[in-house]
Symmetry: C2
Subunit: 636 residues, 2 copies
């Protein structure tokens, strides 16, 4: 990421020179002033480091460390694997000693890979052999180290040995001259003097610094998390931010590079027993000696050997791929996060890939909340426990009561899901039923007015031969003009579960109560509150009472604030448990049934100016005053 | 949005011509070939429309209509208000007759606004007066229309009247010549012949078409949703997509513009009683007549009058701002979505703003899930109901049992929240306690080895004067070197709630059981499963058993898949209800207490090679065989 900033701010084209006496590459056409280019690039990199450090300190002070929480393990796994792939591709072209353009941004790694393979004919055989040998030796020795780690006191430092041997061979055989091998050439010795960062560049690199500050931190902390789990301690995200920030501000002043973590080196130090900061001081000391004294000696070393050492160390990272099948078995969503982050980081680059992975992770959370498990619940006989009807045998749904548990918060994205699960649980569409009923009512009224239908004590008696006229061509029930019925003229109370004299296909409503188990509804947004209110009213219209059970404590006050309650929607709809609600409903029904046993009959009442004749029919065993009954029902 | 595509693909610079005889603007320097420019722009716009249509049909077929769900009401409110603001700014410069650059992309509306005010000195007074008058008249008449809507048969068509009057005045007073007013000038009459879309442009506009297809659809559907709610019908998101798609494909071939909805016109048609597609046909017919016959007559009309008519119609959109305070009272998060979407749509432009609003909305869902309500629960005496200790008086926590309800799914982003709520509920940090205990154990072992401490039947008796040596400087408990205690040498069972002979400050653990109420835990991700397993083991280490209650049915199978269960973590930790778990624990404890009443004492057991002397102390009333007891506890 630092490289892409450096390349975009100081590309080769800025340093093209015509003269021959400049320190040039061996390009044939124009020459590049590599010295001033590199000086400029170092300045950009160190300025970037300084800026990143400042940002990290700011993030730490602002307590932005919480973002660590969003780095889920699968995300870190996919991301680090993609990072390893990026490193592999960049090292591959060095092993092959193939020069490619410096690609930047989206798909750059793919382009680099393609170009590398297109130019594979230009491979330097000496470099390739040295690289492959190095990879092989490193892999084998590391495998041995791992297998016999209890028998040997310290792991064999194979990288050091290989580097020294390869340097010797290259020097002795003069690989550069004979085979045109790519060697390290000049390693600058000693230290650069401290240099103030170029503040004028800040504005150009602020966006990149932002993502580098986050990504560098995120990588380091995710590795840290692994060891925190292993050694039972906790990472303070903000403290890490401040530590990295100060480190980067300091090193930015000394032409250093943005600091993050190196997983392989960390693993080596941990496995060889380094536990405190002393281990860090010792390794820093050795590096110091190398820089000051040993740098010159490494100049004949082939670059491909160094690249091969890096590749050999990527093995652990790539092994993470084998976690994916296990992850898939355990949790498909998490496996998808892994794969998505990995692919996105390869395709989009590490910074955008991490962002995409983060967003994808958050999206999965939304989707998991949005599509909860739901189902009709029933009573386990003899207990107050309610379980899903589908999953449990011998679960009994209370007579005329449906219980729906929708196991998630309800908000704008899943309110449609709630509605459709409601429909499928109760078995009908409350709006449709209401519209059909209105339509039927209108037809009955028409027929009554025409005198073709008579309201009786026990039902509506139709004259023969009128059914065809009232026949309903099964039109769209959403046809709204039908709803404009002047129902005030004739008010009719109809038992909708009985046979009607008009052929309107009204879905049967076999329930009188609906209980929503809100046990997992931890919040409602304003859309949900409004929709639930609508749902209640839609069901009330077709004489189904809605109750809520096992709600969260803070729900009532939230609903109060949202103007949820009114004359129809009252607080006595809320019950502590599903069983309480069922018991209440059962009580209500027992009471109501005593006075109102007119199932499968039609009660008809009129308050219109032209009173309908009530003709006595000869049905036996009917002792109810229908009109009074209907009055009572209207009043209740 | 169409305009920005058109401007970026056919900017004025493409049509600069030197010759004078081209139809030019009155610019002094170079001239712009407006005819070929406009032809090109129309082609681009209609091609775009065609492509948008294709995309919309594809979206419809692919069932992408579900995205409607993510258009929460507050988001739609904020977005349409921002859209109204955009329109206002674009019309404002026409009312003032101030010419500005065509800004594009992020912040373009702000730049336009700034430039408009910078150039406010160049305002054309005639246009301004005409515009202000129009706005005033329109507003007043609309207000009257609204106030007396029950008394007048149809609303006064003020826009039509104003337009006709303004055209007459402009023509009579020759405003263009006298005051240099901006008039409509040429309205092309008739229809353009159908023109095939330029497929070669598709690749350049695919990204823009994508967002236009979504945004146009999203706006139309969100308005549709309002009337769907009002008239009790449901919108099929995919059907809408296909309808818009076919409409755009068709009209794209006739040099038309992308279709979406016009909230104000929709509102007018609805309020004047238009209900079916017939209303659409009638208005289309009138527009047709205007184009064919009346266009020429409108040419002297001032543009500022038209702009003013538009502005006067935006009132309803801006009135939405007054929803925000109510929304804030009802639900702060939803109010934040409104404000964020509105600001983002103004600052970033409508397309990016809608995207930002969508993401923000999803983020709020994540945050609401991530920071659930939680608390220690207690029993309401005499019932099996458990409620939050903080919220309810007279709630009793069972002896030695803590009950935590964490009311949300548990996943990577809130696992830290679960841990910290656990800590604060139980009152100690399980890891810290364990580390401190290990430390104390090590010290006790040292002292025993040195002979300064003796393990007794009833406790550890310290020789006088050794306490200072064992004094603990209150170091960081995370100091891991202390954990490397070779505890195998001497195994000691200590009652950690008693006074210890070493001065290690070990937090007291007043509980033996912890119940996690999983009633609202609707899913767990892999990070959560692992962490919960760790939590269980951390508590087991300090002799606190963890139980789970009122879990969701699918949880057990999910946990099984995730390799959650093993020898320590068993399924018998799961209970149907909190009360069941409490009863079980109470039973266990009663049984256990009968045999193990050694509270406030120390049990010490040794299996080391060098046996510790057990000295009989003179404490009365002690009849327990401590060693056997300790053995039993270890074995259990």
């Amino acid at each position: 990421m630092v490289g892409s900033v450096v390349l975009s701010m100081a590309p080769d084209e800025h340093f093209l020179i015509e003269s021959i006496n400049a320190t040039g590459t061996n390009a044939t056409g124009t020459l590049i002033d590599t010295e001033s280019r590199d000086a400029q690039r170092v300045l950009i990199a160190s300025t970037l480091t300084f800026l990143v450090g400042i940002l990290q300190v700011i993030f730490g002070v602002l307590q932005i460390g919480f973002i660590v929480r969003y780095l889920a393990d699968p995300l870190v796994g996919g991301f680090t694997t993609a990072a390893a792939f990026q490193v592999l591709v960049s090292q591959l072209k060095i092993v092959l000693n193939v020069s490619t353009k410096n690609y930047n941004g989206v798909l750059s790694i793919i382009y680099t890979l393609i170009e590398t393979f297109e130019k594979i004919g230009t491979t330097n055989i000496a470099d390739l052999i040295a690289g492959l040998l190095t990879i092989f030796v490193c892999m084998v020795v590391k495998e041995l180290n791992d297998r016999f780690k209890h028998k040997i006191p310290i792991p064999i430092p194979v990288e050091v040995i290989v580097t020294i041997v390869a340097t010797g061979i290259s020097y002795a055989a003069d690989l550069e001259k004979k085979y045109n091998a790519g060697i390290v050439k000049s390693i600058p010795r000693g230290f650069l003097p401290p240099e103030p960062p170029k503040v004028s560049l800040f504005s150009q690199m602020i966006a990149a610094s932002f993502s580098i500050a986050i990504v560098a931190y995120a990588i380091a902390v995710s590795v840290g998390k692994v060891y925190a789990t292993k050694y039972d301690y906790a990472i303070d995200g903000n403290q890490e931010f401040i530590a990295f920030g100060i480190s980067n501000i300091f090193s930015g002043a000394f032409s250093c590079f943005v600091a993050t973590t190196a997983l392989s080196r960390t693993a080596v130090q941990e496995s060889t027993g380094g536990k405190t900061q002393v281990a860090g001081i010792i390794s820093a000391g050795i590096v110091l000696i190398s820089i000051v004294a040993l740098g010159k000696l490494l100049e004949p070393l082939q670059k491909s050997v160094l690249a091969a050492v890096v590749i050999a160390n990527l093995k652990g990272m790539f092994m993470q791929v084998f976690d994916v099948p296990r992850l898939w078995r355990q949790n498909k969503v998490d496996a998808m996060i892994w794969v998505f982050t990995c692919i996105a980081s390869i395709v989009l680059g590490l910074d955008l890939g991490l962002l995409a992975g983060l967003l994808f992770g958050l999206l999965t959370v939304v989707l998991r909340v949005q599509f909860p498990s739901w189902g009709g619940f029933g009573n386990i006989p003899g207990t107050d426990i309610y379980k899903k009807v589908k999953d449990y045998k011998n679960v009994v749904e209370p007579e005329g009561v449906k219980i729906l548990k929708f196991a998630s918060p309800i908000f704008y994205a899943n309110i449609d899901g709630l509605k459709s699960s409601l429909k499928s649980t109760v078995g009908f569409d409350a709006v449709k039923v209401y519209n059909k009923r209105l339509k039927a009512l209108r037809k009955i009224q028409k027929l009554i007015k025409k005198g073709k239908l008579k309201a009786t004590k026990n039902g509506i008696i139709s004259e023969p031969g009128i059914n065809n006229e009232a026949f309903e061509t099964d039109e769209d029930p959403e046809d709204n003009q039908d709803l404009q019925v002047p129902t005030k003229e004739v008010e009719i109370q109809v038992d909708w579960n009985s046979e009607l004299p008009v052929k309107v296909n009204i879905p049967k409503v076999p329930i009188h109560s609906l209980i929503l188990d809100f046990g997992a509804v931890t919040f409602l947004d304003i859309v949900a509150v409004r929709s639930i209110k609508t749902i209640i009213k839609e069901f009330e219209r077709i004489d189904v009472r809605v109750y809520f059970a096992s709600y969260q404590d803070n729900l009532i006050s939230q609903l109060e604030r949202s103007a949820f309650f009114d004359d129809t929607v009252r607080k006595d709809m809320f019950f502590l448990t599903v069983h309480d609600a069922v018991l209440y409903i059962r009580n209500q029904m027992t009471y109501s049934d005593n006075k109102d046993p007119i199932f499968e009959k039609i009660a008809l009442m009129q308050e219109s100016k032209e009173p309908i004749e009530f003709t006595e029919t000869s049905r036996p065993g009917d002792e109810l005053d229908v009109q009074e009954e209907a009055m009572r029902r209207l009043a209740s």
